[in-house]
């Protein structure tokens, strides 16, 4: 029997910079791409070596991608207090990702792209890209 678990139920909550401990779940989330973890590779191979040697750089995070049903007047989506407000004001806010089996990532980030779609036959949708910055927590453990 597999030990794999469904990703359904992964929730992202946002804490405004002014109230950093107050997280509010973002409404109607669809597919979520969590930040890729990576390190740049620097070749350190020298003439006297017959096999490559590398040094990895600083821990870096890729873009976080969030797809959702766009609710134009929802406080977690709109241009007044929601994600659209975050990119307009370029605020650094807290984001908490709670995955099934209580895996929790918490980080600070800014929204660098929002794409909204209004298909002739389909739902209003919004895709949001977030770049993380600074230390993060994974289940309470400080990373970085």
């Amino acid at each position: 029997m597999t030990l794999a678990i469904s990703a359904h139920g992964t929730i992202i909550a946002r804490a405004l910079a002014a109230t950093p401990t107050v997280f509010t779940d973002i409404a109607e989330l669809e597919d979520i791409t969590l930040p890729e973890l990576m390190r740049n590779v620097f070749d350190a191979t020298t003439q006297d070596k017959d096999i490559d040697n590398v040094v990895l750089g600083v821990l870096r995070r890729g873009e976080i991608g969030i797809a959702m049903n766009l609710l134009p007047t929802n406080a977690t989506h709109d241009h007044l207090t929601g994600l659209q407000q975050a990119i307009i004001s370029n605020t650094v806010d807290g984001y908490r990702f709670t995955m099934p089996q209580s895996l929790v990532w918490t980080l600070s980030g800014q929204i660098n792209k929002i794409t909204m779609k209004a298909p002739v036959d389909g739902k209003l949708s919004m895709n949001v890209a977030i770049r993380a910055s600074g230390k993060m927590l994974i289940n309470g453990i400080v990373i970085g």
């Binding site: 359904h8 929730i11 409404a27 109607e28 989330l29 049903n69």
Partner: protein, 134 residues
């Protein structure tokens, strides 16, 4: 309220017919052997679109079939239903029986579907629906 009842309520409100007299729901409905009728049947649709927050929308479909001894009368009845459900443009962001419907759209034009068991001409069209669960 079940899906077909929500549709029927819209049709009745728009004067298309009356439940049990000219509008019948489901495949086991007892349809009179004479006169006009409009029969609605659920046809499965597609899987629901889910969100992480458990705010899914359902995507049912339905078939509407009208019959009468006169093809023209059957077609007129079905056309009234077609118009009630938005016609070629469909219905978008409406509330039927307190349930939010994102869209009701016809899948095709009105189609001649031959004679029913009583020898009456029938015409049919199908709809796709995206709605809040009910």
């Amino acid at each position: 309220m079940p899906f077909l009842d929500e549709l029927a309520a819209k049709l009745i409100a728009d004067g298309v017919g009356s439940l049990g007299s000219t509008i019948f729901l489901g495949s086991k409905a007892v349809i009179p052997t004479t006169g006009a009728y409009l029969a609605l049947a659920e046809t499965g649709g597609k899987f629901s679109l889910r969100t992480q927050n458990d705010t899914a929308v359902e995507r049912p479909s339905a078939q509407l079939k009208a019959g009468h001894e006169s093809y023209r009368t059957a077609r007129a009845l079905l056309m009234a239903a077609y118009t009630s459900l938005g016609g070629a443009n469909g219905l978008h962001n409406v509330t039927l029986s307190s349930i939010s419907y994102l869209s009701i759209t016809p899948k095709q034009q009105i189609t001649d579907t031959g004679l029913d068991g009583a020898g009456r001409p029938t015409v049919t069209f199908n709809i796709d629906v995206v709605k809040q669960p009910s």
